[in-house]
Subunit: 361 residues, 2 copies
């Protein structure tokens, strides 16, 4: 990677909520000067007291970068205002939807050479400046949405911001961004809310049967309705089409449930395949697992000894399955371990006298 | 609670998968004799080596309780077989659906006086006997489904099993059970799969934007399609009706998205309300939070001192929000703390010189 460009400073963060304050903390920690603004002055003061910068006005002509972190509905107004108030500054925002605010700014005839929108894919169930976290963006995806009028130095400044916050830069066109977040963020939120809303007319005895599954599926439905209404509303055109597609797929699911095993298994397989496509938590690839097969002889306490030897190896075993050979009185233990430690475990078990082979499938 | 009735022993567990082996471990730990059976003998041996009992046949005439822990499709066959093989034993099962296996047994004319179905609401993403866990059921709901032909002593034996596994007993009619799990378990699973399946045609660049939300919503879609096909298939009548209702609600959601803020906020509020109805993780009530409001005077570093004093109190603060008084130069810090510690924190902060009051809302 090329040497990181510097963030043009001082930086002004407009909106000292959780995301804005966290940007302030991350930039302050990286050595940049940050000024905090909020419609509620106490919020800026709290953010400042937590290390997000200073709650004092910056010299407008000196400001190098403005980060607008306000609710979606206010984005176009606040960005336009920032471009006017800070005549030399590059202006970005951290809103969840990118096309409509850009279109609104274009409609107003604002010169957008110094504006480049962006979107850090990081959140928290907490809100407000007291949830400020300098590591919120660490290794998270942060999308930068270039547009045709943006000047190259403005794009570079926003990309430098992403690097300073130690996030992973992804470049994407605003329209494509909104299509992607509709599917991986907005639709999951609405569906979570759909399931959760279906719990409201259940008697408490039925809710007592709730396990971890429904808790996971409905967790994000606990988010702030007024914030999510704005996000969904800003991306309503895309989401409306997605919901129609969801309706058609739900109809196919109902047919599968009514038509029997094969159709339903195929449908569920597709869901499982979808879960496998999601990259690792912090954007990395899924861990690569490698399988090792150990023969379990027909001897007293063979399994007990084998478990002891595996435990002694002290390596992270993700999964263990047992197979048996119907033609001989032996069984096989399959161990799924991280690909890189597989040779080590194989050697340790071989040394301990076990018959070990890599899996063939 | 009355003194726990004894589990009639020895116990036979048929099916040494994750749930069956865990029942074996919990009962063994509670001092009961357990025999393990599995169509794959190695599975029973693995379970035995992990403390779930012995992998040897029991004297059929002596067996007091049989726990059938096999896939849903095999339930009726294996329960009927167990009633015949163990002529004095009470027989239960741990299947996820209760009406259809019972109806199937009735259809075959099996005498069901010694059979009482049950369903522990506990699972794991792991499968097989190596996932055996004696604490799997600790404080989890375990539904016992009495039916008109069941003898009282059979019901008592299954309830004793629930107590021995340290689960929370819930009594429910089989039809009501299936209606409840359709809504709190089966439908969430299918919807999770619906969202996950929608990810399969996304390009990797779009999937790179996936955050924690979509991961949570789709986690359970990673479950075994062949197991879930059986569960859903067994409860297809109820689920089909639920899916129709979901289709109607999805249609209303689409209308809300297209019609503007108020309808969508109301819809999202209903979802949030649903998340609040789910009882605490282990079946307990949600923690009751109580709010405390502290005045922040307009003095240097007032917030810093306040955060220090709150930290010194060493109490668990769930959330902190800032409000301000537009008419005066003061702010307010709202602290959400467990209701029972609220008076303590209020006293500590008062003593430290802060102006403290309980919240009025």
């Amino acid at each position: 990677m090329a040497r990181a460009a510097a963030v043009p400073q001082p930086v002004v963060v407009v909106g000292a909520g959780m995301v804005g304050s966290s940007v302030g903390c991350a930039l302050t920690e990286a050595g940049f000067r940050v000024h905090l603004e909020d419609a509620v002055p106490t919020h800026a003061q709290v953010a400042a007291s937590l290390g997000a910068g200073v709650a004092e006005p910056a010299d407008p002509d000196a400001v190098g970068l403005v980060v607008v972190a306000v609710p979606p509905r206010l984005l176009a107004d606040v960005v336009a205002d920032a471009l006017q108030r800070f005549p030399r500054a590059v202006v970005t925002d951290v809103g969840s939807v990118k096309s409509r605010p850009l279109a609104e700014l274009e409609r107003r005839g604002v010169d957008l050479g110094r504006y480049v929108g962006s979107h850090p894919m990081a959140g928290s169930h907490r809100a407000g400046p007291v949830a400020a976290d300098p590591f919120l963006f660490l290794d998270r995806t942060w999308v930068v949405c270039e547009h045709p009028s943006a000047r190259p130095e403005a794009v570079a400044a926003v990309e430098a911001l992403v690097q300073a916050c130690r996030a992973r830069l992804v470049r994407m066109d605003p329209v494509e961004h909104d299509a992607a977040v509709a599917r991986v963020s907005h639709l999951p939120h609405l569906v979570s809310s759909l399931v959760a809303g279906g719990l409201t007319d259940l008697p408490p005895e039925h809710l007592a049967l709730a396990g971890q599954g429904v808790r996971d599926v409905t967790r994000i439905a606990g988010g702030d309705p007024r914030l999510w209404e704005q996000i969904v509303g800003m991306n309503a055109d895309v989401i409306s089409v997605e919901l129609q597609s969801l309706q058609r797929r739900l109809e196919r699911l109902r047919e599968a449930v009514e038509s029997g095993p094969e159709a339903l298994v195929a449908w569920l397989e597709q869901g499982r395949e979808g879960t496998r496509r999601i990259p690792g938590k912090h954007g990395g690839a899924h861990t690569e697992w490698s399988r090792l097969v150990v023969e379990i002889p027909d001897a007293p306490n063979a399994l007990g000894r084998l478990f002891t030897d595996i435990g002694d190896a002290g390596l992270n075993v993700e999964d263990i399955t047992i197979e048996h050979d119907p033609t001989r009185r032996v069984g096989y233990l399959s161990l799924d371990v991280e690909a890189e430690v597989q040779p080590t475990l194989a050697a340790l078990l071989s040394d301990a006298g076990w018959s070990v082979e890599p899996a063939t499938d």
